[in-house]
């Protein structure tokens, strides 16, 4: 059956487009909502990361400084104890301490007297000269710590701590203690952040850095330079911020932080001055992702939840829409179709035909024909074969009409045995040919399945037609024209076809 698409069926009959539009609007609103949610999440994560990483970096630097203070405090106590004992023979004291088990806690222990004579092993003496350790001793007030260097004795990277010391009745010297750098690395170790936190000692003047903690435990104690490790990878975008951060360090500002990106990762990096290790700073760097993993998980959960909600809503929408379409179709069918023949009822036909002819009238491009058809002697069929046979005749005749005109017209049962067809064609010859075909098909329609019963039965019909706009320019006039043509056919004995002619 024709859906009416080609005939510009009024929107009242088809509303599916409005559903799609509504769906698009809904999806756009949902999309905008999700984007806004993600953006607010990202802002929240960034703010959270910046604050937390700053706090953690500051805490780690403070922890290291406290630990170094404890070491220096312990060295100061030892120096104070030895000062109180007021030794006169530093050589003898050195021998005792070198042999003493206390010495084994350090890589080495020794003294520098007021004349810069060093009480140390041969290897250590070479290191004093090689690394200028006497200069570091001179900085002790009351403590100074050397830059890290590789110990000949152990092969490890070490640093030496000098403490003011009084001996021989008021002479000023220095006690020195050499520790493995691992001591500082152990201080830097923070279990919960081991994987992500990187810690270096950095010398402001040279930009040299030495790693104390990081993802790769074997990289600890390895020298590098900040220009290569920090400045080069961060690219041109953050060079200005990095330079400002470094300027603060050069100016002796106690602590400062910077946030920058390398690739997709955001890092927060904080330095803090190390007490007694003059010109040296502890630098802590944490990637933002290490802290935002929990909130990222939550973000993903929310996104999944929203996704499921959206899909569920869409399914509900579509199911509801389909159900609505089905119900509407049933209602439409009930209101526009003749239940027996499935043809349009008169009301629906008049409405649709009127709309179509109106559309045709505006375009003035095509013609249309209106046909009135009557099943001949239908009452006799009912009387002879019964109402069921009559219904069968009407159903099959309607089906034959659909088969022949269904693709290009509207078919309606006007009442009883009357049918009307609006054909999108004004060519009388073509329609006459189609009616001839219909006549053959009608002849094949039988009222029942018993050949004996219908042996002499042949179904015929009468038809009158009028052409739009030649014969009439509106539906009523067209119907009247076709009706009068039908009347003439009937007058002439039925089983025939005729076109409306003015004046007849």
């Amino acid at each position: 059956m024709n859906t009416g698409k080609n005939f510009g069926i009024p929107r009242e009959i088809s509303k599916s487009f409005s559903f799609i539009r509504m769906l698009v609007v809904y999806l756009v609103i949902c999309g905008a909502g999700v984007c806004a949610l993600l953006a607010s999440f990202d802002i929240l994560i960034r703010k959270n990361n910046k604050k937390l990483t700053n706090d953690i970096c500051s805490l780690v630097t403070e922890k290291m400084n406290n630990s170094i203070r404890r070491m220096t405090g312990s060295a100061e106590n030892m120096a104070a104890l030895l000062s109180a004992q007021d030794h006169y023979d530093l050589g003898e004291l050195y021998e005792i301490l070198s042999r003493d088990s206390v010495a084994s806690e350090y890589v080495s222990i020794g003294f520098v007297d007021e004349n810069d004579h060093i009480y140390a092993s041969e290897t250590e003496l070479k290191e004093f000269e090689k690394w200028g350790l006497l200069d570091t001793a001179g900085q002790a007030d009351p403590v100074s710590i050397s830059a890290p260097y590789r110990s000949g004795k152990t092969g490890q990277t070490v640093f030496t701590m000098f403490v003011d010391y009084v001996y021989g009745g008021g002479k000023k010297g220095y006690l020195f203690l050499t520790y493995p750098l691992k001591e500082i690395q152990n201080m830097a170790y923070t279990e919960s952040l081991t994987v992500d936190t990187e810690i270096w000692l950095m010398e402001a003047d040279s930009d040299n850095i030495i790693q104390c903690a990081g993802p790769n435990k074997y990289s600890m104690g390895i020298w590098d330079n900040a220009l290569v490790t920090f400045r080069k990878p961060i690219g041109s975008r953050y060079q200005k911020e990095y330079a400002a951060w470094k300027d603060k360090m050069n100016a002796g500002v106690k602590s400062a932080g910077i946030t920058y990106r390398i690739g997709d990762e955001t890092y927060t990096q904080v330095y803090s001055k190390i007490d007694f290790m003059y010109g040296w700073y502890v630098v802590v760097r944490i990637p933002g992702s290490s802290l935002s993993s929990a909130i990222q998980q939550f973000r993903i959960s929310v996104l999944v939840f929203l996704g499921i909600l959206l899909i569920a809503t869409l399914i509900m929408f579509i199911v509801s829409h389909k159900r609505q379409i089905r119900e509407k179709k049933v209602l439409e069918n009930l209101s526009i179709q003749d239940p027996l023949t499935q043809a349009l009822n008169r009301r629906a036909f008049d409405f649709t035909a009127d709309q179509y002819l109106g559309y045709l009238g505006k375009t003035l491009k095509n013609e249309a024909s209106l046909l009135f058809l009557d099943v001949d002697y239908f009452k006799q069929v009912n009387d002879r074969f019964g109402h069921e046979a009559g219904d069968r005749i009407l159903r099959e005749f309607s089906a034959a009409l659909r088969e022949i005109f269904g693709q290009e017209g509207y078919i309606s049962r006007y009442g009883g045995d009357e049918f009307v067809v609006l054909v999108r064609n004004g060519d009388r010859d073509t329609i006459s040919g189609q009616l001839e075909l219909l006549r053959k098909k009608a002849a094949e329609i039988k009222p029942c399945d018993d050949p004996e019963a219908y042996r002499d039965f042949v179904l015929t019909f009468s038809c009158g037609g009028a052409v739009f706009p030649t014969d009439a320019q509106d539906l009523k006039s067209l119907e009247a024209g076709a009706d009068s043509a039908l009347y003439l056919v009937k007058e002439n004995g039925r089983d025939g076809f005729g076109w409306y002619e003015k004046g007849k």
């Binding site: 004795k153 092969g155 074997y218 400045r231």
Partner: protein, 347 residues
């Protein structure tokens, strides 16, 4: 008997080709079987030397030192090594091979300070003395390491740069720039040389002499080193360049000579035709720093012999020092001796 076992084990393991997929991807050739460096004598200790690159002249000098050390200290010395200096997996196999062959001591120049640490600990744990050469490992489980203190060598390079600049007529008030180039950004040796350079420079160079912050890296390739050097020439105040390794130094030397930039001081590491050409020219200010790899292995064999004999060593880390080669020092006896051991006397 041990010698036969060593050769057999070497052959079996070499034929088995038990190498990892990583090194296969690098296209590295498998290490050859251990080969005796000198005449083997039954009853003498068997030392196994494993070097980083059998094709390199630097490592050939180290092998010469071990050969001479073996003769001097009455040891059989067997040698093998890798052909790519990152092929630590093959060195790990060689360590197993040496232990299986009954090594009395192992002399190793580790291809990777980190990845080989566990295997070194294992060998040391079996009571086999371990002497490290040229490169430190990230473990305490070794007896002694003979190498260059690269932090100190870097400082010497900076000292030489400042000295050469002053000799070239650059005054403390001149605003000049210095360009630095690395062979590999992740190399501990190169990083320490760089740190040493900065350490000395920051304390001793005049304020107006600046290091260009864009430190370039050539990844060990000479072509790239030349490109990097060309880029540095675009700096108008460039008066000095420092190459932290052989490829960087060659790149700088080649470009400075090609452009006849006699106003640029070149300081680098290792001896090559390129840097030798500048030093010998007389018109250029150029210096290079040479390591004493011959003495590393020679002394390493001596110490290994002492360890086998039950003696202890006073230090675990011994800086073998470096010599600075420039126009003035090149004829000094010490420099000539190191140059002759470096195979550079023919350059």
């Amino acid at each position: 008997m041990k010698r036969i076992t060593a050769v057999l084990v070497s052959m079996i393991l070499a034929l088995a080709g038990c190498s990892g997929s990583g090194r296969e991807e690098q296209g590295a050739s498998p290490a050859p079987a251990f080969e005796a460096l000198n005449e083997t004598v039954d009853g003498r200790p068997d030392l196994y030397l494993i070097v980083k690159n059998l094709d390199s002249s630097y490592w050939k000098v180290m092998i010469d030192g071990a050969r001479d050390g073996g003769a001097a200290f009455d040891c059989n010395v067997y040698c093998s090594g890798t052909y790519v200096e990152t092929d630590w997996e093959e060195q790990r196999r060689l360590l197993d091979e040496a232990v299986a062959a009954g090594a009395d001591a192992v002399l190793l120049a580790p291809d990777d300070s980190v990845m080989l640490s566990e295997k070194i600990e294992e060998v040391y744990g079996k009571g086999v003395p371990v002497v490290l050469l040229d490169t430190m490992a990230n473990t305490d489980s070794y007896d002694v390491c003979y190498m260059t203190d690269n932090l100190m060598a870097g400082q010497q390079a900076a000292e030489e740069m400042i000295s050469q600049l002053r000799k070239s007529g650059v005054s403390d008030s001149d605003a000049i720039q210095i360009g630095l180039q690395l062979g590999a950004a992740a190399s501990q040796t190169i990083s320490e040389r760089l740190a040493g350079f900065f350490k000395y420079w920051s304390k001793n160079a005049p304020q107006s002499w600046k290091i260009i912050p864009d430190i370039k890296c050539n990844d060990g390739y000479l072509d790239k080193a030349v490109e990097c050097a060309e880029e540095f020439l675009e700096y108008p105040d460039l008066r000095g360049v420092f190459g932290t390794n052989n490829s960087s130094t060659r790149g700088f030397a080649r470009v400075v000579r090609e452009h006849a930039r006699k106003d640029i001081v070149v300081v680098g590491f290792d001896y090559s035709e390129d840097i030798a050409a500048l030093i010998n020219d007389g018109g250029y200010a150029a210096s290079t720093i040479l390591q004493r790899q011959y003495y590393m292995s020679y002394t390493g064999v001596e110490t290994a012999r002492k360890l086998i004999d039950g003696e202890s060593v006073p230090a675990k880390f011994v800086d073998m020092g470096v010599v600075v080669v420039n126009e003035e020092t090149i004829n000094q006896a010490e420099v000539q001796e190191v140059l002759s051991y470096s195979g550079a006397d023919g350059l």
